[in-house]
Amino acid sequence: MSKQLIVHAEQVTKSFGDLEILKGIDLQVFRGEVLCIIGPSGSGKSTFLRCINHLEKIDGGRLSVNGSLVGYRQNGDRLYELRDKDVCRERANIGMVFQHFNLFGHKTALENVIEGPVQVKGISKKKATEQGMALLDRVGLGSRAHAYPYAMSGGQQQRVAIARALAMEPQLMLFDEPTSSLDPELVGEVLDVMKDLASSGMTMVVVTHEMGFAREVADGIVFIDNGCVVERGQPHDVLGNPQEERTRAFLSAVL
């Protein structure tokens, strides 16, 4: 049984103006794997994650998700930019969870969750509501279905945000520091949902500073510094016995 490649990055580069943020990232994530990305602030972790679902456009290299190029269509040796509609279709298969939750402020938890299925996938509201309630139950928030985001704690909001992403039935979930803006006592409930998700076989790419989570859940870890992958490997190798000086310096600063 050959493993199915979900995320495949080859020499991905990205600049903002004159500043090169990603300097050739190579990386692979297979189906069912959880990859954690760690690295210092400003190293380009978020930027890389955002490239995966085309919130940012890459400048060079190749980046494909589940076999199809992100944001482009290849014809011979030319890459054609996709239209907004096609980009949207690709994005719908990739869930993303943000550091600041970004729940739709004018919608209740349930409305947040069913927005995508109803508006993007065209599922009936009744069916979407059933599925949405099941998802909210799964993240432990069935009783808060009709609460507005402002009335929920950060941990609850982030769990709703996870449910919202899952409602699209994605093949891949991206997490950008999902617990970084939470009060310490709320981190656990979000990580529990993520662990649960990982053990259900979801393919996940997680940018995180939670080394405990990375050690316990990740199948692989990459350490990114200054736009390059500095070190990669099994969690206990990278975290327990780092080979590179920069990794050691970073880990001794965060652990």
Partner: protein, 307 residues
């Protein structure tokens, strides 16, 4: 008495009194406030008296409130207001969205529109619309219509275009401010679930911009109500023009201007209340949202009934 009590308590228990109930609070007195209030009331009374003894036929003021000529003016004012605001809203939202577009031509056209119509007096714009026939004497859409501009550009149409297009420029600014007030993360989250750009604007950004947009829009509505009186200058029979027609015949100038004033005040009051109700409705997804205006009103009425 109270002060003595307090002193006694203090002497016996210097730190914290055992029971706060034992103490009487003596509020600070503000004699200055009273003096000021009385002076103002006296001045107001003098002002009212001046108007009461003046040679004004108040019975006529009331009587004219409901004469057919004035009522028709009210109807025309409201019609002009509603249609101009509708036109202004359409143009305002359209140009505000255009100014967010990645297409520079759209951005430029949207910005130019606002610049032109905010930068010139409304009265001048009205006169230009009304006198358009001087430069374009026929209005033609090839193959569809061709008619003399004089026939087409009635006072009503000139007033509608002048007011509506002018309002659109102000509303564009208001809507743009509202759009910019919505956190960028909202758009990203919507993109991430695969929503196309137009839908993000319609379902995620604009509804949340509404809370910022509605209060100034309400003000714009009320301002526009008052601006309709400028259509008087191009002989559209709105409220002021209707009054003018009557007082040039019977010379009850002040009486009719008072009648008109009462009508404008009544209309602005009604619209202010409607605006408040709308704001309450939109406030439901916001923290600290208070009970709706309608509910407060019902509650107050209920209290009064039982009291």
């Amino acid at each position: 008495m109270a002060v003595e009590d307090k002193l006694e308590t203090e002497r016996e228990v210097p730190a914290v009194p055992t029971s706060a109930r034992a103490l009487t609070v003596v509020p600070l007195k503000y004699p200055g406030r009273w003096v000021l209030a009385i002076v103002i009331l006296v001045l107001l009374a003098l002002l009212v008296r001046a108007f009461v003894v003046a040679d004004i036929d108040y019975a006529a003021v009331v009587e004219y409130l409901t004469v057919p000529g004035i009522l028709e003016g009210v109807r025309n004012t409201l019609l002009l207001l509603l249609l101009s605001m509708a036109l202004g809203l359409v143009l305002g939202v359209l140009t505000a969205v255009m100014r967010q577009s990645p297409n520079p031509v759209l951005r430029w056209v949207g910005g130019g529109y606002v610049w032109l119509f905010r930068g010139t007096p409304l009265l001048v714009q009205l006169l230009i619309w009304f006198n358009l026939a001087i430069i374009f004497n026929t209005f033609t859409i090839p193959g569809l219509v061709s008619m003399p501009m004089n026939t087409l550009m009635t006072p009503f149409l000139a007033a509608l275009l002048g007011l509506g297009i002018n309002e659109g420029a102000y509303i564009s600014e208001i809507v743009r401010g509202g759009i910019l007030s919505v956190d960028h993360g909202q758009r990203e989250a919507a993109s991430a679930i695969g929503m196309p750009r137009a839908k993000i604007m319609r379902r995620i950004v604009l509804p949340q911009a509404m809370r910022v947009i509605i209060p100034p829009l309400g003000n714009e509505f009320i301002a526009c109500l008052k601006f309709t009186s400028l259509a008087y200058t191009i002989s559209f029979s709105e409220l002021l023009h209707s009054a003018n027609k009557i007082y040039t015949a019977n010379f009850k100038v002040i009486e009719l201007l008072f009648t008109v004033t009462i009508w404008y005040l009544a209309l602005t009051t009604v619209f202010s209340v409607l605006q408040q109700m709308l704001e309450d409705r939109l406030g439901r997804s916001a923290p600290g949202s208070r009970p709706s205006f309608a509910r407060r009103l019902r509650k107050n009425l209920a209290l009064r009934r039982t009291a």
